[in-house]
Structures are given as C-alpha cells and as structure tokens.
C-alpha cells in the first residue's frame, strides 16, 4: 500500500483497526532487516515526498516523511546548511545501494552520526510533525519554530520509535549552518583507554570538537587511530587545532591529516566497511568512560569494533553471543541494539535491549496511548 495523502493513510489505518490487522511502516526500506522478521502489511510512506517549507534564515525545514535523504542533503548544501545530527543512509549495512533512505525512516530510527557527540541526535533537531496515530487519528505535534516548547514534546518520543507509535507524514527539522572549514587531527597508537582519556580531555577543553572516534589497529591495517574533528570558521578552527596538537598523551601527539584521509575515517564510521560484513552487528551505547571497559570485558579482538562518540558508542561485529553482550553493556550502564543478524538470530534475540519491568510497562502504556489496538505492533520489536 502506498498512500498518496493523509486521507488515504488514515483510511488504511482505520481499515486495519476494523479488521484487526497489523501494519508495518516503511520509507526506503534500508533498515528492513532490523528486528524480528514479520509479515505485517507494508505501508510505503514514500508518497509523502517533497520539501514543504524551507527558509534558511529561520533554520527550519519542513518536508514530507518520504523525501529521500540525499535530496534534503543537496538542498541544504546549496544554502550552506546541514542537519547537524549527521543522519546517514544505513542501507550500506545491509548491502543496499545508496540513495534509498528517506528522512522519515532515518529520524524514526533515531539514527545519528559521529557529530551526535556534540550536536545532539535526531530527536534534538526534530521540532514538529504531522501524522496519524495507530488509532487512525490525524494529529500535529510540536511546531515549525526553533523554540517549539508549547505542549508535550512528542517529536522526541516519535524520533527513534521505529514506526511503533504513529505514521509520521511530515517533519519539521532544525537546520544549522554548514561549517566553513573542517579539520581532522589524528593520534596513532593509543589504546582504547588512552584514546578515551585524550578525547575526554579535549572535550573538556576549548578545542570545541565536533566529533571524536577511535579505530583499532585491526581495522586500519596498521596502528590504531584516534581521530577528532574540529570545524567552524577558519581562524577558529586553526586556533582550536593547535589546542589539540598541544595535547601530549603518553608521548603521542595528534597531527592533522589531509581531507581525503579525514573523509575516509568519518565515512568508515557510517558505512562500517572496516568491520566484518554480513554477520551480526551490534550498536552499544555506554557512558563514554565505560567504552574501553566494555571492550576489555568482552575480550574483543581489535578488528571487531569501532568506537565513536568519544567512547560512548561501540559498533561490534564479532562472535560474542547476545546474552553476554547485553549483560556486559547493561552492567556498565549502557544498552545494546542488534542492528544486523540473520533471520534465526533476529527471531530469537530482540533488536532492542530488554527494559526493567516498570519501564517496559510504562513504554507499553505510551504505545497504547498512540495505538490502542496495536495496529503498529508487528512483533518486529
């Protein structure tokens, strides 16, 4: 089913309510292989496509949920702006061709890139929406202004909800100026613990990093690389790079790398091409200082993981079983999402980290608030 407008979408959802059937919302389908396999009827949201309102000086963009991410990126680039949470096309994790990801799918999956460390995630840039609840009711939430603080902040709840609450048809997003200049500065040979320490020190300084990540030796084919990105206006970037370069981490220093090398590092943290392809892939979110602890406890080899967000995000593609990963992540105050796995694994292991009973009960009450009959409860999550 591919509704062309809100009325058709509402009819589809009302019909599903009447027949007690389930619906699975889908944008470009890049993340089809996340979550348990399910047979619910697909609702293709790509009919809701196009830019609805964009005034660069207001820092606000309103688009249809089915608008391709690439189209939005090109439009913003023309006006020297960006989505600061660095959304990316996750299709590459599943062997899909680039260009299929939609803005709706990306925000509803709550996917943010390396810059999330300092700029906030999709939820922090999601100001307003139009959509249809699981109960079939058309609604709006938030607003089309940067300071959208009136009423409950439902856009935050919808971001990262993976289609479990409402079919969002229109999104208003905060946009920000694209930095005029960007430099990446790299230290080689640091251990994960040393890397965390260096990144934490720099984040607490006036270096004003945009992103900070660590690639272990087994993924770079040589020595480990700890990379930080400094961006903004050229004179400022130069001054802040000097702060980074002045840092001494047990005799090792950060030095600038060229634009191509920089591009390659940050791209690798999205495509994850340095990790084993095809096998199980975990996305583990932790307090930053616990990133190195998690890796040590896991006993992960240095070709099986990447560390982003200054230690707060681990991508892990190794053989350790789900229970161990979740136990270790939970024990350190974090959680683990199964991003990729074969059907058998996904049937047995839920994509999301199990919640404590009281939180789980609250979450299901909130789901019922949007979707009383469970139309969007496909069993996928």
């Amino acid at each position: 089913m591919r509704p062309a407008d809100q009325a058709e979408l509402t009819a589809i959802i009302a019909d599903a309510n009447a027949r007690h059937t389930r619906l699975r919302l889908r944008g470009g389908g890049t993340k089809d292989a996340v979550g348990a396999p399910c047979s619910a009827a697909l609702v293709d949201m790509r009919g809701f496509s196009g830019v609805i309102d964009y005034d660069p000086s207001e820092l606000v963009l309103t688009v249809g949920a089915g608008t391709p991410l690439t189209e939005i990126e090109q439009l913003l680039a023309k006006h020297c702006q960006m989505l600061a949470f660095e959304p990316w096309d996750a299709g590459c994790l599943f062997g899909k061709a680039p260009g299929e990801a939609t803005i709706g799918g990306t925000v509803m999956a709550g996917l943010s890139g390396s810059q999330r460390l300092t700029q906030g995630s999709a939820r922090d840039h999601f100001l307003g929406l139009k959509g249809v609840t699981g109960g079939g009711s058309s609604f709006t939430a938030g607003a089309k202004v940067v300071k959208n603080v009136t009423g409950y902040d439902l856009p935050k709840l919808l971001a990262g909800s993976w289609g479990r609450l409402a079919a969002v048809t229109e999104l208003t997003l905060k946009v920000l100026p694209r930095p005029a200049s960007s430099l990446t500065v790299v230290a080689e040979g640091l251990t994960p613990r040393q890397a965390w320490r260096a990144m934490a020190t720099l984040l607490g300084s006036n270096a004003e990093l945009a992103a900070a990540a660590h690639l272990p030796a087994g993924t770079t084919g040589g020595v480990s690389m700890t990379a930080v990105r400094v961006q903004g206006f050229s004179p400022s970037v130069e001054a802040r790079c000097q702060i980074v370069e002045a840092l001494d981490t047990e005799g090792r220093r950060f030095t600038r790398v060229g634009a191509d090398a920089a591009q390659s590092i940050w791209e690798a943290l999205q495509s994850l091409r340095l990790l084993k392809e095809g096998g199980p892939l975990w996305r583990i979110s932790l307090p930053a200082r616990c990133g190195p602890d998690f890796l040590a406890q896991l006993g992960a080899s240095n070709s099986e993981w990447l560390m982003d967000w200054a230690g707060g995000l681990i991508w892990y593609a190794g053989p350790t079983d789900a229970a161990t990963i979740r136990c270790l992540a939970g024990g350190l105050g974090g959680h683990a999402i199964l991003m990729r796995g074969d059907e058998e694994l996904r049937m047995n292991v839920p994509a999301f980290h199990p919640l404590p009973a009281a939180t789980a009960a609250l979450e299901s009450a909130v789901r019922r608030a949007f979707d009383g009959a469970g139309v969007f409860d496909t069993g996928r999550f």
């Binding site: 005034d55 460390l117 603080v149 709840l157 990262g160 100026p177 934490a200 400022s236 967000w309």
Partner: protein
Amino acid sequence: MTICMPEVDADVLARREQIVVALRRIVPGEGVISEPTGLRPYESDGLTAYRQMPLVVVLPETVEQVSQILAWCHAEKIRVVPRGSGTSLSGGALPLADAVLLGLGKFNHILDIDYDDRVAVVQPGVTNLAISKAVEHAGLYYAPDPSSQIACSIGGNVAENSGGVHCLKYGLTTNNVLGVELVLMDGQVVRLGGRSLDGPGLDLLGVVVGSEGLVGVVTEVTVRLLARPETARALLIGFDSVEGAGACVAAVIAAGIIPAGMEMMDRPAIHAAEVFVGAGYPLDVEALLIVELDGVEAECDFLIGEVERIASTHGALQVRISRDEEERNRFWAGRKAAFPAVSRLAPDYYCMDGTIPRRQLPFVLERIGEMSREYGLGVANVFHAGDGNLHPLILYDANRPGELDRAEAFGNDILRLCVSVGGVLTGEHGVGIEKRDLMPEMFGPADLEVQEQVKRAFDPQLLLNPGKVFPTLHRCAEAGRMHVHGGQLPFADIPRF
C-alpha cells in the same frame, strides 16, 4: 481574577486530618506542614496573581519517601502538586485546595560529578546556577541559563524545559539532560536515560522534560556539562527600524553564524532601560541589537568583524564593540534591567511570552503597535531575536477600572497573533494555568487528545498536577499573565529577562 480549576473534592477536604497523619507516618518530624502560617509561603509560585492554600505540604528527603507518598495518595485517590523552587511564571506549581503539595526543596545535593565525561548527577532541588558553580573550578558549566537561575531548581527546569539567553546556540533543558529518576504516581521508580548519550527503548525522557509536573516526580537529574568558552564579546548595534534590525539578524544567521546570544529591544524598551540604568544605549534609534559571540579568542575576533561588516551593510546607524568584560556587562545591563525599567513607565505591566518565526517580526511588532492603540495601552518589546521568543510588556494601571481586563485581552490577542503567524504560545515560561485555555488556539482537539493520552499513560487517574497545561471543558476566565504592580516584581530579587 479567577480561573477554572478542577472541582474541589469535599470528601478529601473532610479527611484532611487523616491525610496529615498518614503523611507524618511517611515523613516524620517537620517534613509535613499543616498549620496555616506554615502553608502560606506555598500559596503561589511566580505567577502571584493566583493564590491557593494547599491542603498540606510535605517535604520528603528520600526517594523512598516520595515513592511512599505517591503510592499512598494514588491508593487514596488524592491529588498531588509537585513543586521545586516555585519560580514558575505560568502557575505550574499553583496549589489546589484538595491536593498535597509535594515540595522537593530538601533534595538539594549534588550526588556525583564526572569531570572526565562532563556529567553531573544532581537532586532536583539543586538550583540551576549551583550546578555551574560546583564545576566552575574545572572550567565546566551547565549551559541552559534561565534568567531566574540563581533561584530556580533543576527539577523545575526539567518540568518546564527552561531555556535562557544562550539557548539558540546551546539548546534548551531537553538538549542538556541525559537522564532522570522519576517516581510515577503509583509509587514505582523508573530511570529514563542515564550517562550514555542514547537511552534504550522509546525516548520517554524526551516527553518527561517539559511535561510541567504532570507525568511523575523527578528525584534525580543527570545533566551534560560543557567547557566554559574562553572568551565572550558583544556588539551593540542601533537601527532606524525594526525591519532593519530583523534583516540584520537574518543576515547574521545566513552567514552561518550562530551567536551565543542575540537580543533585540524596541524604542520604548531602549528608552526605559537607558533611563533606568544608564547603559549608554543610543536614544535616536528604533531598534537595538545586542549580539554576543563566544569561543576561543580567534573565533570571537573573527566573528566580531563579520557581524560588524554585516551590520554596516544592513543600515546600522551605529555599532559598538565591547573592549572588555566591564563593557560587555554594561551592554547587557540595560537589557537585563528592561523589566524593572519598564515598570517605571506605568503602575503595572504584564509580561507576555510567545514565539514567532523570526521573519514575521516586523509584521508582528506593527500589529502589536496597532493593538496598543486600539486597547489604549502602551507596550514595550524585548525579543530573544535569535530564536524568535518575544516578550511584549503591556503597560496598564490596575487601579483604573477595566484596564486590567483590557490588558489581559490585549495579551491574549498577542498570543493568538503569535500562533496565527506560525509561532507558538510560549517561549520559556511554560503553559501552566496561564496559557492553558489558549492551547486550543494552537492545537486542535485531536492534537490535544494525543498529548492527554500520553499523560494518561503515566498517570491514568489524572492525580498529578491536575488543572495545568490542558484546557478544562469550561472556560470560566481568560488566562492571566505575570502581573507586576508598582514595580513590585514577584520574587524581585530574581533578575528577569
């Protein structure tokens, strides 16, 4: 002034003694206040036009006590109003005659600071400024800076999603809180978020921040800390028209600059402020901009030059650049004194709070000017120009018959105007009881229904902070605003800007 609050449950009033005894069993000693003299300080918050003595005040000291209080009230179907420092300007902590007022003032400890990961875990009664003070020595601070920051609590900031002068660049409370511990109305304790950047499951934290005390009682807050910028400098720029100033603001942003703060004042506000504090503002301009840049020195130097260049090509009549901290503070002094300064223009003023798309500013100010003439009441405007948050200050005299009503009607028209140009009813003061009945101006029935269903998911019996945020079925009064009589600001020791 009256406003419709939920019907008082006479049965609960009759059981008052029993309720006091039950609460004393949970919180022994002086933690339960039931004498009228003890209750009096809690009868209102920063919106002092509305007063109501609470049924009883309870001041728990532990999460266990909060949990027991809520569980007992839940079982007995007794309403609860949570309160932080009581600085809300929208009546968010206004007591109800039949509700237990749950004060969190004793939750005033900073529990943990992780300097490496730049995270602080604090109790909700800790003031906003106290967090920054506690980490100042390490070069860190907590970014959101509502103007009441010396008094307002972080728990209250979470409830209201507070902003501040610097929120365009650094975000609101919601962008700077990583986690909370929340006690639900049935007494269950849940943790939402934590010290990691992303939480598991649905982003319930996102809806708790800004929920105005209607979904649970926050007993612990984890906030993100930032490195304090090395320098800050400001420009003072005068224009011969509001349009000119507005165009300059748009051009600054179009040039890719997000200033730490960008404030605008109109002619009446400039004159009032200058008379009041002698900040050295030019008096021959129609609009004044204060633009503050922060960061490393090289960044400030560069951006000061850029903003100066943009201003001069956008018809600035004059541009002054702060040479030192003292001058920067002087530029701000007039702006920060704008509220008390305006209170000298008339016996009373009425502080409004709405947000508009910035491009609508000239039209909105022109319409406010026309309405000012129609209502026969003066108005001065101060404006967080970066994020479109407008504070019109309506001048009136409560001692003149009918003027208060006219001021309130004028205020409501301004908020309707904000919504009609694509803006919202609030900027940073919350909805509370103040704007509750205007919510349908912005949200349709289906929109409000979704929000109310979310509220019910947390509190099915609607026992937490009832009568706030959501419009009641019967509108029996127009909403009130922050009224100031004879220059007597509510909580006059707290700066408001």
